[in-house]
Symmetry: C2
Subunit: 316 residues, 2 copies
């Protein structure tokens, strides 16, 4: 590591960010993260002071750091923990929930944490929902994502929140972008953005305020601020494509610091300069069952997932 001194006050640094050529002490690093968050939020018009923000809280470093930052910046931000019923022999969901509750009680007692019990509402855990689909573990992540997006949006609408905030960091966004680029997924490339506006059809506005921070930076922010968080990865993520893409990007980042930052921000610039053609999305309708927007006729993907076995596979 060597003897890096804080650029602001010459004290011993706690972090040296090669991609920014910037070393900072504890105090100035926390200040830097919060200032940069504020300007990123402003630049992308994520929130206004009167917005009611619902933070998707997983119990991990990113979402808890995000919640802390938003509250420190003076925003109205409540948390939503979704208990997906992942046990896998290590009580994953239960332990994650405890980190989220502990944070809410000890660090910002005035903040509200909503806890959603998926199995309690729908009679099935997410692993049980996913087990009906072919594809095993790989399919699990896509079913889990579908459930989380659907429920997050439903709760936000029902409770009157105006924006949903998620803790995706730069490593997450760069890996998603990399995956989309490997297959040139037009629809996904066009929609990948730090902020997605409400669509007037019931999809609540979504924002990713941490998308410009490396995972290492959000971890440092959590540790410095004594946030206890769930350190294990989800047991179902072992072997996930996103983790392999992250490994590749990490090896490139090691050889050339700033690779991820450049990759993601040059993409955002190219989109802003309209390199990518925004085409009309397929027309959206309201799902017959839950009322949320969907491109499919009849039921949305979430409600199809919950159909009794046999029904959604019968084609007549």
């Amino acid at each position: 590591m060597g003897v890096h001194r804080c650029r602001m006050c010459a004290a011993d640094s706690v972090i040296n960010m090669r991609q920014h050529r910037l070393a900072l002490c504890e105090v100035h690093f926390v200040e830097w993260v919060e200032k940069l968050s504020a300007s990123f939020i402003k630049k992308h018009r994520m929130f206004e002071p009167d917005d009611r923000i619902l933070v998707a809280v997983s119990g991990g470093k990113d979402s808890l750091s995000l919640w802390r930052i938003l509250l420190k910046l003076g925003f109205q931000a409540d948390g939503l923990y979704m208990d997906l019923g992942v046990d896998a022999g290590c009580s994953y969901s239960k332990n994650s929930c405890e980190y989220a509750e502990k944070f809410a009680q000890s660090i910002f007692p005035e903040a509200k944490l909503h806890v959603l019990d998926v199995a309690g509402i729908y009679g099935k855990t997410v692993p049980e929902m996913a087990s009906r689909r072919k594809g095993g573990k790989k399919k699990f992540c896509s079913v889990c994502g579908l459930v989380k997006r659907h429920e997050m949006n439903r709760i936000a609408r029902e409770l009157g929140y105006t924006v949903i905030a998620t803790g995706h960091n730069l490593d997450d966004e760069a890996a998603v972008l990399f995956g989309n680029v490997l297959h040139w997924e037009a629809e996904y490339l066009v929609r990948q953005s730090p902020v997605l506006p409400a669509d007037g059809l019931g999809l609540v506005k979504r924002a990713k305020p941490l998308a410009r921070f490396y995972e290492r930076e959000t971890a440092a922010y959590a540790i410095i601020n004594n946030i206890e968080y769930m350190q294990e990865e989800c047991p179902f993520s072992v072997g996930a494509t996103s983790l392999r893409l992250k490994e590749v990007l990490n090896s490139m980042e090691n050889g050339s610091p700033g690779t991820k930052l450049n990759f993601y921000f040059s993409f955002l610039r190219a989109k802003k300069n309209s390199l990518l053609l925004v085409r009309e999305r397929p027309e959206l309708r309201s799902c017959e069952k839950c009322g949320q927007a969907t491109g499919a006729p009849g039921l949305c993907a979430f409600c199809r997932l919950l159909e009794p076995a046999g029904v959604h596979h019968s084609f007549s």
Copy 2:
């Protein structure tokens, strides 16, 4: 390797292409390469039977295989070897030239090989030209590329060739695409294509007929056909960005065969479906000195490179 049998005749295979789930014997592999080349050439309208093709020949496996394929398919194809004056203690250019000449004499004696001596014409080898630029080895590759593109085009025009063919394989194209994507180079992304039409301003049509073959496949084609070729990489390419990008793609390809093929062809499809917005190129003019098209005022980049030292750095 195991016991793969040729899918066409059940003889022992010489190559197993995991990305195609296809193993072939010598005879059927050569047939497969030539048939696929013919259909790729036709699909992208690279050449007509009356075209006079100038093949850029480096003495390596790709360009010599390309030349052989074009001649076997009945096209009129002559070669151009550009002696760039790379010695670097291993007589690189001299040895490469010998492979090109040997091929021309022994395999297709009716084919014509033009040899261009850059230092003989311009008084400087490419390493000498590059040494005037800052940036060391990294700069060398860009200067070398500039010189080759300029001279290839000049010779094609002077000798009345209608298309230039280069031996870029899928590994080359995927690495270039990867580099362009890492920085979202709009201009380069829009122009990266297996075929670039003549622009009416003196830029000759260019085609890359091998862009759908893996490097391993062009090497196998050369070896099976007893083509002796230069196996060493250019000594200046050590540490080149393109080689690092190739390593990354290779590791991904190993984990998931077909990654490169998918990456490159989904990009071509996305472009065809106009995901990428083709913007107007900057207006081109004729270079005051050589007459070739350039976006710069006054001299083109090649002619600026050849200006006497001191002159092209003086701004008044």
